[in-house]
C-alpha cells in the first residue's frame, strides 16, 4: 500500500510570438509566405471593417440584432488559415470573420441578420456548418464529422469554435471526451473573450486556464495569446498537422477579448468598466499584425490604404446587393421550404391556406 503522486501525461504551454509592443520572438516566428500573410491580413481587416459597418447599419435600423466580433479577428483567421478547403468548419455564432474566410458571402450575412432564411444559404462546395446559437451544441457535430472522416479515411480535419461560456455546458465535455476516446481529427478552438454576456471568466470557471481541461480528456491543450495571429497560427498548424497524421484532437484556448457588446441588444455598461475595455483595446490584434507586416515589407502604408479602400468597396457592394434583394416583397411561403425532403400533405394544405391570404399581404403590420 502506498500513496504516490501519479504522473499524468501532458502540461499546458502558453504561446506568444508577437506581443502588443511589437516584440517578436524570432525563434518561434513561423515561416509564412508573403501571399499567405496578405490573405490573412486581408481577412482580418475585412472582418473588422465589416463588423464596424454592421454596427452602424444596426444602429440605423438597417439590420437586426447581431453579435459583434471586434477584437477577435486574429483568433478567427490565424486558425482557419491553417485549414484546407476540403476540411470542415463548425462555427458558433461569433465567428463572422472566420465564416467569411471560409467562403461565406457578405450579403448572406446581411440577409441573415435581417431575418431572412435565405441568409443561411451556403455554397454546396463549402464544408461549413451553419452558425449554431445554442451554446456548445455544435461541438458534438464536429466530433461526429471527425468520426465520419476517420470511418471514410478521408484525411479531412474538423475545426470547431466556441467561447469561454461554452466550457460550462455538458455538450462541451461530452464532445471533448468522445473526440479523445475515438481519436477524431478535431481541433477545438475556444475563443476565450473573457465574458459570457455579463458573466466574467472568473465566475464561469474555477480553473486557472481553460486549456487545462484538455488534459482531463487525454488530449493536448495549449493556451495562446489570441490577439497574436502568429501564435494562433502556429498552435493551429501544429494541431491540424497532428490531426491529419492520425494524432487525434487538440484543444486551443485563444485568450482574447470581446471589445463590444454580447449582441447589439446588450448593454455592457451594466456590468463591466470602460477601463478594462480600454486596456484590451491596447492589445488590438490588427495594428500589431499590420506593424509586423510593414516591418517585413509585405505591405507599405500606401498598399494598406489601397487594401482598405478595396475592402470598403466590397462591403458596400454586398450591402447594395442585400438591400436590392430586400426591396422585393418577402415570399412568406418560403417558410415551408426545406423543412422536409418532401412536404407532407398536411403541410401542403397549410401552405395553400397561407397562399390564399396572399391578397392581404401588401399593407399593414398584422399579416396573420
Amino acid at each position: 500500500m502506498s500513496r504516490n503522486q501519479l504522473a499524468l501525461a501532458g502540461n499546458i504551454d502558453y504561446l506568444s510570438i508577437l506581443d502588443e509592443n511589437g516584440n517578436l520572438d524570432s525563434v518561434l516566428e513561423p515561416d509564412i509566405s508573403a501571399s499567405q500573410h496578405k490573405t490573412m491580413f486581408r481577412a482580418m481587416l475585412l472582418g473588422r471593417l465589416f463588423d464596424e459597418r454592421m454596427l452602424a447599419l444596426q444602429r440605423q435600423g438597417r439590420i437586426g440584432t447581431f453579435p459583434p466580433i471586434k477584437g477577435q479577428e486574429a483568433a478567427q483567421i490565424g486558425t482557419t488559415a491553417t485549414l484546407l478547403t476540403s476540411d470542415w468548419f463548425v462555427p458558433s455564432f461569433r465567428e463572422t470573420a472566420a465564416e467569411i474566410m471560409r467562403g461565406r458571402t457578405l450579403d448572406t450575412v446581411l440577409l441573415y441578420y435581417n431575418g431572412y432564411n435565405e441568409g443561411t444559404f451556403l455554397d454546396p462546395s463549402l464544408k461549413n456548418l451553419p452558425i449554431s446559437v445554442p451554446v456548445a451544441s455544435q461541438i458534438l457535430h464536429a466530433v461526429g464529422l471527425g468520426l465520419a472522416a476517420n470511418y471514410r479515411n478521408t484525411g479531412e480535419v474538423v475545426m470547431t469554435f466556441f467561447g469561454d461560456g461554452a466550457t460550462s455546458e455538458g455538450d462541451f465535455h461530452e464532445g471533448l471526451n468522445c473526440a479523445a476516446v475515438y481519436q477524431t481529427p478535431v481541433i477545438f478552438i475556444c475563443q476565450n473573450n473573457q465574458w459570457a454576456i455579463s458573466l466574467p471568466l472568473a465566475s464561469q470557471t474555477h480553473s486557472k486556464t481553460l486549456a487545462q481541461k484538455a488534459l482531463a480528456y487525454g488530449m493536448p491543450g495549449i493556451q495562446v495569446d489570441g490577439n497574436d495571429i502568429l501564435a494562433v497560427y502556429v498552435a493551429a498548424q501544429e494541431a491540424v498537422d497532428r490531426a491529419r497524421q492520425g494524432g487525434g484532437p487538440t484543444f486551443i484556448e485563444c485568450v482574447t477579448y470581446r471589445v463590444m457588446m454580447h449582441t447589439t441588444a446588450d448593454d455592457p455598461g451594466k456590468y463591466r468598466s470602460e477601463n478594462e475595455v480600454e486596456k484590451w483595446i491596447e492589445r488590438d490584434p490588427l495594428p500589431r499584425y499590420s506593424n509586423y507586416l510593414l516591418e517585413k515589407d509585405i505591405f507599405t502604408r500606401q498598399s494598406l490604404d489601397e487594401l482598405e479602400g478595396q475592402i470598403q468597396k466590397e462591403i458596400q457592394g454586398a450591402i447594395e446587393k442585400a438591400e436590392e434583394y430586400m426591396k422585393n416583397p418577402v415570399d412568406p411561403l418560403n417558410m415551408f421550404n426545406h423543412l422536409y425532403a418532401e412536404l407532407p400533405p398536411h403541410l401542403q394544405n397549410q401552405k395553400k391556406a397561407l397562399e390564399k391570404e396572399g391578397t392581404k399581404w401588401t399593407k399593414g403590420k398584422d399579416h396573420g
Partner: protein, 326 residues
C-alpha cells in the same frame, strides 16, 4: 396601484416574495448585475445579495439540476432560462427528475421550483429565440405549465407559482414584456394555478386562447363587435396544465361555437387538447365545427417573415366568420 409593464410586475412579484420568504433563491444566466437580458431581475442582486440571486455559469442543465437539489433540501429555486429555445439543454432534468421526484419517492422528496422562460415570437429576435413549445411541458406529467397574458396576471400567477408545492414551468411571452402597462396593486395578489379567466364576456362565439395571443383575440373581438355586432366571449386559460376546462365548457354550452388560438404549431399542439375536451363535454351543444388559428407546422421563420407565421387579427376574424356561418 401603479401602472406596470409585465417586466416590472414580474420583478415586483419576485421582490415581494423574496422579502417574505428567505428560502426563495433565484438562479440563471445574467440575472445578477445585468438584471437578466429582459431586466426581470433588475436590482434584485443589490437587495438580496449574490447568495440569493445566483448568476450561474452558462449551463442550462446546471441551473435546473442544481435547483432540483436545492428544492429537495427545502429551498425554493426560481430559475430563469434566458430563452425557452435553450431549455432543451435542461430537458432531461425536468422530464426525468423534477417532474417525477415526488411520484418516485412516494411523496418523500418534492421539488417545489419554478422555471421562468421567455417564449414566443413577434420581437424580431434571432433564431432559437421565438419558439412557442409549451406543449412539451404541458405534455409532461408532474409539471405545471403557466402562461400569463399581461402584467397583472403575470404578477399574481408568479406569486402562486413560487408558493406551489410542485415544479412549475412559467412561460413569459416576450412580445408582452413591454407591450403595455396595467394597474398592478402594491399589496399581495395571487391568481390560482389551474384557473382560467373570462377575459371578455360574449354570447355568440367562444374564443379560447392564452399568453401573447390574448391581445390579437381581444382586438379581433372588438372589431367583430363594432363591424358585425358579433359578441365573442374570450376565455384566457392562464394555466395549460393542470388545465381548467370548466369556464370554456360553460361558455361553449352557451354560445355553441368555438375558436381556439395559439401561436404554437398546430399539430399535437395545445389546441388539440382544448378541442378534445370540448368534444367530450360540450359536443351536444356545438352548432358548428370548432376551428383553430395557430402557427403553421414549421419552424417559426426568421423575423422578416414571422408576421406571416403568427396568428393575427385578420386570421382570427376570418375563422370567426367561418365558425359562425357553418
Amino acid at each position: 396601484m401603479a401602472k406596470m409593464t409585465m417586466v416590472q410586475a414580474l420583478n415586483l412579484a419576485l421582490k415581494q416574495e423574496m422579502e417574505k420568504d428567505d428560502s426563495i433563491v433565484l438562479l440563471g444566466q445574467d440575472i445578477g448585475p445585468d438584471g437578466g437580458v429582459f431586466r426581470v431581475t433588475d436590482h434584485l442582486i443589490n437587495k438580496f445579495g449574490k447568495e440569493r440571486v445566483i448568476d450561474t455559469p452558462l449551463a442550462e442543465a446546471s441551473i435546473i439540476g442544481m435547483s432540483i437539489g436545492m428544492a429537495i433540501h427545502g429551498l425554493k429555486p426560481v430559475c430563469e432560462i434566458q430563452f425557452s429555445g435553450f431549455s432543451y439543454q435542461n430537458f432531461h432534468q425536468l422530464e426525468n427528475h423534477a417532474a417525477r421526484m415526488r411520484w418516485r419517492t412516494q411523496g418523500r422528496l418534492t421539488v417545489p421550483m419554478v422555471m421562468r422562460a421567455p417564449y414566443g415570437g413577434g420581437v424580431r429576435a434571432l433564431e432559437h429565440h421565438s419558439e412557442s413549445r409549451e406543449a412539451y411541458w404541458a405534455h409532461t406529467p408532474g409539471l405545471k405549465t403557466v402562461i400569463p397574458s399581461g402584467p397583472r396576471k403575470a404578477r399574481a400567477l408568479l406569486v402562486s407559482a413560487i408558493r406551489d408545492p410542485d415544479p412549475v414551468i412559467f412561460y413569459e411571452a416576450k412580445a408582452l414584456y413591454r407591450a403595455f402597462r396595467e394597474e398592478v396593486p402594491e399589496e399581495e395578489e395571487t391568481w390560482p394555478i389551474g384557473k382560467s379567466n373570462v377575459a371578455r364576456p360574449g354570447t355568440d362565439l367562444t374564443i379560447i386562447t392564452y399568453g401573447a395571443m390574448l391581445q390579437p383575440a381581444l382586438k379581433a373581438a372588438d372589431k367583430l363587435s363594432d363591424e358585425d355586432g358579433i359578441e365573442s366571449e374570450i376565455i384566457d386559460l392562464l394555466t395549460l396544465s393542470p388545465f381548467d376546462d370548466s369556464l370554456m365548457i360553460d361558455s361553449v354550452k352557451k354560445t355553441g361555437r368555438a375558436l381556439v388560438i395559439h401561436e404554437a404549431p398546430r399539430s399535437f399542439g395545445p389546441g388539440a387538447e382544448i378541442v378534445s375536451r370540448l368534444m367530450e363535454d360540450a359536443f351536444y351543444y356545438l352548432e358548428a365545427p370548432i376551428q383553430r388559428v395557430t402557427g403553421f407546422d414549421v419552424i417559426i421563420p426568421y423575423f422578416s417573415r414571422e408576421k406571416y407565421y403568427l396568428p393575427g387579427i385578420q386570421r382570427i376574424i376570418t375563422a370567426a366568420h367561418n365558425v359562425l356561418q357553418a
